[in-house]
Symmetry: D2
């Protein structure tokens, strides 16, 4: 089928490649022109403005945005909307907040244009093994884009999960769970690393991936990571977080759901980025006040 990819970051360009491999005709657009040129050389149809994206497709047009969440998505929709025709399909495959997707879908559908929110998982491995696609929106739009979904995903790796927002909601929870799993493995490996035994963590991860209850794809990655750097000496314990982890906690609280593990997995990331903890200073200061306990001077080790 014909479709456009807007946003040629790592995810967008790899998705375009995976689509072209399966014979689809892919129009590509990006804010800066270089990635467009690159993709043209790989066989894509370059479009150097949003308007030319629309021009290079015939109705019903399928336009897939892979751009940063937030204002950039609203801006792009505002540019495209006047140019599109009823029956066209606009797809947000980025990490948007599901509430934004509900709002945008409603706004776009007033013009007779379809909107699909597609949570996309797979990271840098997606090009090779396929992307897991969590889709929210109308069945009719889903059917139009299904050939592309089929090419992008591994077998059975795409699914219409519900109305608009259901895709990004599922992706949000997916990432929340990911935070929890990563933290669970990480705590286990830290206890092993500081244990009385001198474990070969790569070997142990490899072992656990063969028949144990905790085997998973993330544990296969742990095997690789420990093979490259057995004691992770080359990197700092500094962990970023993206919106989805926070939104998962907000959502849990909005729904009155206790989610201690997902929440603490997020908050340990905050802590990982603090050179010192003001809260710990407060505790140290109060202990000195009541017990005369020694404190460590700032700057010392």
């Amino acid at each position: 089928m014909d479709l456009a990819i807007i946003g040629l970051g790592r995810m967008g360009s790899n998705m375009a490649r995976r689509l072209m491999r399966d014979g689809h005709r892919v129009v590509v657009h990006n804010r800066s022109p270089e990635p467009i040129k690159e993709m043209e050389q790989e066989g894509a149809v370059g479009a150097y403005t949003p308007a030319s994206v629309v021009d290079r497709l015939a109705p019903p047009r399928v336009i897939w945005m892979m751009i940063p969440a937030g204002d950039p998505v609203d801006d792009m929709i505002n540019k495209l909307l006047p140019l599109l025709s009823p029956g066209d399909v606009l797809i947000d495959g980025g990490n948007s907040n599901w509430k934004d997707s509900v709002r945008r879908a409603a706004a776009v559908s007033e013009r007779g244009i379809h909107y699909l929110d597609v949570g996309t998982s797979g990271g840098i491995w997606g090009l090779e093994v396929g992307y897991c696609l969590m889709i929210g929106g109308e069945e009719a739009a889903f059917r139009i884009v299904e050939p592309a979904f089929k090419s992008l995903a591994p077998p059975d790796g795409y699914r219409l999960l519900g109305p608009s927002g259901a895709g990004h909601f599922a992706k949000m929870i997916h990432n929340g769970i990911e935070y929890g799993m990563l933290q669970a493995y990480a705590e286990g490996f830290e206890i092993l690393e500081s244990s009385p035994f001198e474990y070969d963590l790569a070997g142990l991860a490899a072992l656990w991936n063969r028949g144990s209850v905790v085997r998973s794809w993330l544990l296969e990655l742990a095997e690789r990571a420990f093979k490259e750097d057995p004691h992770l000496e080359s990197i700092r314990g500094y962990v970023e977080d993206s919106g989805e982890g926070r939104w998962t906690v907000f959502q849990a609280i909005d729904q009155d759901v206790p989610a201690p593990v997902l929440t603490l997995s997020l908050m340990t990331r905050f802590r990982s980025r603090q050179p010192d903890s003001f809260a710990a200073k407060v505790v140290a200061a109060l202990r000195r006040q009541f017990g005369g306990h020694a404190v460590q001077p700032s700057g010392g080790e």
Copy 2:
């Protein structure tokens, strides 16, 4: 090779079966005689006393205990030890505390007898796909038993991880991680289940298992569980815990390692077993004291 399995619970008897399938001669013993008879009919050599276990094997004997952790293991060792010869190998494949295994290995080795602690994962699926074996002890003993390890485990699914205790320590951490992963998935599914969307959780689990970052064997089981009972209406949210989860937390604290996620995964299980929470009563009572906030009478809903 020849070896004995002592303890014919679900794990022990399935392991005996898997060994016999590969042509090993398996002597079997159990506290109650019925399982022995059953296994005899499947081709095992029955031994109705610990002494007859020893009699039915030639040195170096390999005796694999699959019995409840704690006193039963010490009792069995005490029964076997006077009957064994230097060079024999005693294996504890149960869920023993790693410190007990260190202590027992030292005691047994004084008599010239080898001791291996083997953390065993795989549950009821082990018969079919093989058991993941985490092994602690001496290389020499490991080599003697390796043919059996090979039959029990999936390809590359057994490994000598270190000296005595290293096997059960690794199994302990494995279970701690398992608690954390289960809780991470569980929290995610609870938010989904009470979300504004009506997710088909079996379908979503199936989807996530195809290319997403959170794919795992546990998530495959979640797919099965939700297929059988889409909203888990047939079961209570009541979760037991075994020793390993607790020991993981104790170990973390002994090593000064923060393990918030593993710890909370354990403690939510405690909470799941409380019909009411005394702590919550205290909070409700104090809120009434200072704010005049209404409390719910006991017994009400």
Copy 3:
């Protein structure tokens, strides 16, 4: 001084009483008329409409709202604003979100009217011991209302903390800390209650209030609560939460601050309100899948 109290719930009416005790002239208004009549009998000046509140005060008018957070505050401001004169002071003494207070202060000040956000703590004890007043806004407005602050608060119990929003922000954090303290005491008392010792918790709370590190006003309330019901048998462990606890967690996350204790104190309240836990069902279901562990049927005990 002269001022009006709008909202004669428990807090508002007690504050009016405390002000009148100190000789202030207090105009009172409420949505329903009965509390106005009641307060009139105690010496207040009744005002049965917002307009009459304004009429019964001379500029610069001081109007103190003690009404539910959210839309009611905006509605009242919208009613009052056209009637007020530059230099009048509008006070929100309720539990508003600090961001709303920042927004409202900006809107109100465009009309030349002062706005103070006053976080008010003290609960049902405030009438007797005074209210702790955390105040945000301009110094000029603060000075106008100071005589009333002095009457409402215990000695030194009021303070201008910063610009608009600083009062409600401080109150939000105050409540977050309160959640954490309550949960800390509650967990301690639960361990004591289920310990091998048969503690008299009222006696122990009383003891701790005499010289121990954990003495506090909340612990004095615990002493009272346990005296009334030594094992809290009359109430359920069911705990509501108000907005401030949630906002504290949102704020922590917005500021990248790890706040595990405040967050878990909130989430245990969510859990206290669940008759069963879906997350625990998921864990139980998965444990059955991999280990054949028994589950408890729903409805059973």
Copy 4:
């Protein structure tokens, strides 16, 4: 009355002083002789060996140990026991594990000697305001020592809580709660400190101590601490922990009690002492593996 204090650290010597102020005759002993000499000059009766402690008291002797928990207590008991007479009272006022106290009381009572375990709170303030004494053991022994308890404690600040162990158990939980309260305040102050407002934390703590729900002695200490160093710039966020916090968590787990707040308050202390977090390294490493997310090199900032 007559009694001996063994162990003249800060706590022991201050307790001796407070006893002497009330006219008691206090025999003092310490491992090193200097503190004995010092206390002699203040009016105490010096005893340079355990034997001379016993000599300088008439039966029924009261000997109060204020020495480090663990082996030192057992060693001292072993030295004293052969010298004591039935009816004498041995007191452990240190931070012993309650299970040790149960064990020691049983062993000591076989010789007809009383044993009291006395949890002591008050820190460096105890000399001035009195020590809160949580006492476990027999009523008869308690009555013998009561005059000393009365002098040491503030009014009503001592209490027999139950049989042997009940005193140290209560002190353990007291400290667990203290950890939770400290962390609750600390998290609140961290959010305030990094908030959009420039709070004067000493002033805010002072304000909260006047009528608010969170007022407490610890908050009075916070007021002092922030007055001395408004942004705690002079100290590091490095917090030690003593045995009781850990034991509280162990006890909670042994009793199947969920204690998330007390546990996390302990574990944040562990984290405060880690220059880098191995767990965070693991998460960072895995995120790089699946998402190509950048990591920070070790040693960098």
